[in-house]
Point group: C2
Chain length 501, copies 2
């Protein structure tokens, strides 16, 4: 078998695995959009089966053999020098992922999934009834399993590094501690100053806005972003999300809140950003790591870019506001652009992460990061969580949740066993700001262009810098290549200072 | 391992296979409803993978071993006498299906699928452009492969029996020849008489009817039929269909034709009939044959029952017509119920099977049956098909298609390699009529009940007689148990005579 044949064989298996993963996404999409409600038990059975087949393929002898024919699994050294850089990068990532998958014993994976599934149910009920105590034993069990998981995965310095190696390879607990040590006091201080200074009356944003009008405007936004309807579609779900089944089949959703049209607008811009990344991944690499997004943080940088850097910017609304006014003449006919711009950028501490402004957002993440560390280090008891949460909220945002519903029960992540995931949200903001710095240097006329409704140059920029590489480089290296500087909190801090001071 | 454990192990594998089959259905449903158009190539890859995994599981050593632990694969004799009748029936059917799947060599299955896929594409183009000659070589190849397929499957008297054994086990070519020998002259004669006698002016059925109003009425029909929205949903597709993923997840579609609202009504009643069957299958048998519909003919009996026996009946419209009138006040405000009833039941020869009336319908099937036989027997050359088709149309319906688009190119079935499938449509009508005879005897007040909008007793009757048994009995035995008489053309002939003379 020639090297090419060996490589093609491996890519073929990789493609089968990716197709199986896409079935999982597809089931998820359907469950949140169109599935008849009474089919939920059947749906769990489908998901369980597809997960088990996927795991089997990812850890199969067939895959291992095909991989070993091209790369040494122990040393990570490719057997053939005449492979090109992209192929070598694929082999590196395929090996990483194989080693990762085989680290977790099958039984552990099942136990973890089952516990998380029960915990998610328990969390939903506890959140509804504001009864943290009914969720506590589940969280206890998950913390225990997460410690075990970290041991299986392995780490050098901190068990938390094990999780970061999944979501954001190359980023360590220490990296985050250093970043957050700079960001936390800066953001707390900035939030205080800015929220004191802002005086705009933003009550006109609340009202009663028809779902149909909101959706109409959402579709308009997708058109402005040039989201190809041949390869994507927008639907409604309770929580917005975006799933890339394939660069030719990307499903995104939004939600509408009748009292506030900005929720749907933010959701579409955010998920649209995710969608553009997925649509721009190189299709010929489908099934190989270079056909996949670089990391969760990098994905989030794309969604936050469109949601905040573009979607909360003045030039964007200079172009878009007339259409929004004609969609919601009452009350917007009486609101000028500047007032609207000030209103959507009003910063004020909020207990809820997903409703928070650009300055508060990362503070919410830092709080969660500190708590996750404390759990893993055994320095925090589950029963003390509500109290510690509220105390930290008071410290960093100066407010205290009314109840656990808007406190430690607000997010699904811990119930789903996703320890170590939150920091990717913060990193997304940092990556985006770093890219933005390069962007405004590269396009000194960017405001004019955007003001005229031209967004394709932005898409081209992001594709050129990020999308087309897939997983060719680890996220921090990709960032450095794209911005000629290593990860730093400065661009983000500068971006906020420039915008809000 | 106890007998129970052995049985449970087998059922577990059966369930996995059924879940895989449901993925295939799910992909099909999405492709026809919501999939972004540009994802079609990716979709083919998904379908190919899931088909191959499904076939692998259906023919796996694991399945064979689990089966052999309970039943002798050669003789079909169960190893244990203390299994109940349902379990024995499941073993019988599981064995049948295993033997069937393993009869076809893997390579042949792939060749067949690929040829059919190409032929389907070629057919769509040929139909569009009315160029039979571009489709002919594909049909030639499929006829050749179908002969081979019959040999692999095996048959006693006629190669056509091999196909019937898949779609309608127990029915033979001779059965059909005998039935059709009675039906053909009867139907031809009746059609002539009735179409001469009917004088109602039905032009009011044509017009310009909004899609929204049509869909609104469609949903109303589903409510009348008590289709549980917790376990089913209705969407739009080009060709209506119904797919049962699980008794808790049934997806049906309709289409709307703006010039004629009756198309959508027929489609919803027809697919709704299929859906009710799927929804009523015993859920605890999911993954076992007793959780599956008895046969394609039996499925069709359920759809035709709702579409024609109910949906074209006078008492049904006595209840439903006011709502239809209020949906389409123009023109229906000026049309009384009797005129409407006469119009929707007007019989006149049509070249198109799917638009044909209750009398013509089976004549269309007989024509296709005769042609399929001639192909398999080598008595008909592919190139002669258009001429023979038109000649037969003239003989039995007294009309000649304008072109092959409304002639021998109208149906997709042959392009898809589905030889032997058409007769199930005819059998569906016969089964339905036979059930109807029992129904009207059992419920002498059925007309009153329907007139009052009560349809649940009909659903209960069908569930009791047919749905709850799944595949426990072969279709002809099920029919006999349900109606206390064996398959006969008489009830169908009587039904038509009573209705139309």
């Amino acid at each position: 078998m020639s090297v090419k044949e060996k490589y093609d064989r491996l890519h073929k298996i990789g493609k089968e695995i990716r197709l199986l993963v896409s079935f999982g996404y597809f089931l998820e999409w359907d469950q949140e959009t169109f599935m008849p409600k009474g089919a939920i038990e059947f749906r769990s059975e489908q998901i369980e089966l597809i997960s088990s087949i996927t795991h089997r393929e990812k850890t199969s002898e067939r895959f291992k053999e095909a991989l070993e024919a091209l790369i040494d699994l122990n040393s990570g050294k490719p057997h053939y020098e005449d492979l090109d850089d992209e192929q070598k990068a694929n082999l590196r990532e395929w090996r990483e992922s194989y080693l990762h998958e085989t680290k977790l014993p099958n039984d552990f994976v099942k136990t973890f999934a089952k516990t998380a599934s029960k915990a998610t149910n328990a969390w939903a009920k506890a959140k509804n009834n504001d009864t943290f105590e009914t969720f506590a034993p589940h969280l206890q069990e998950l913390v225990h399993l997460c410690r075990k998981k970290a041991d299986f995965i392995g780490f050098k310095e901190h068990p938390y590094d094990a999780f970061l190696s999944i979501y954001e390879p190359g980023v360590t607990t220490q990296t985050l501690k250093d970043l957050f040590a700079t960001l936390k006091p800066f953001l707390s201080e900035l939030l205080k100053t800015v929220s004191r200074k802002q005086t705009v009356d933003d009550r006109f944003l609340r009202g009663n806005f028809s779902q149909q009008s909101q959706l109409e405007f959402d579709k308009h936004l997708l058109e402005i972003m040039h989201l190809d309807p041949q390869h994507s579609r927008l639907d409604l779900s309770e929580h917005p999300f975006c799933l890339g089944l394939h660069p030719h089949d990307v499903r995104l959703t939004t939600h509408t809140v009748c009292s506030n049209f900005m929720h749907s607008i933010s959701a579409v811009m955010h998920e649209g950003g995710h969608a553009i990344y997925e649509l721009n991944l190189p299709v010929e690499q489908y099934g190989a790591p270079l056909g996949e997004f670089a990391s969760y943080g990098m994905h989030e940088s794309q969604s936050r870019w469109w949601e905040t850097m573009i979607g909360l910017s003045r030039p964007f609304w200079e172009f878009t506001y007339p259409k929004l006014q004609s969609t919601f003449p009452n009350p917007l006919d009486k609101v000028n652009l500047e007032t609207f711009y000030q209103a959507i950028n009003r910063c004020r501490p909020s207990c809820i992460r997903i409703f928070s402004d650009e300055i508060s957002y990362v503070l919410h993440i830092i709080l969660r990061f500190e708590i996750e560390l404390a759990f893993l280090e055994g320095k925090l008891e589950v029963n003390d969580l509500p109290q510690v949460w509220n105390q930290k909220m008071q410290e960093s945002l100066g407010i205290t949740p009314q109840d656990d519903k808007e406190g430690c029960l607000q997010d699904i992540h811990w119930a789903a066993g996703l320890f170590g995931y939150f920091p990717t949200y913060a990193l997304g903001n940092l990556y985006a700001a770093q890219l933005y710095q390069v962007f405004i240097q590269t396009f000194p006329d960017h405001q004019d262009r955007i003001r005229q409704g031209n967004l394709t140059f932005i898409k081209d920029f992001l594709k050129e810098k990020i999308h087309r590489f897939g997983k060719q480089y680890p996220p921090l290296e990709l960032l450095e290549r794209a911005t000629s500087s290593s990860l730093s909190p400065e661009p983000y801090m500068n971006y906020l200072k420039n915008k809000f001071q």
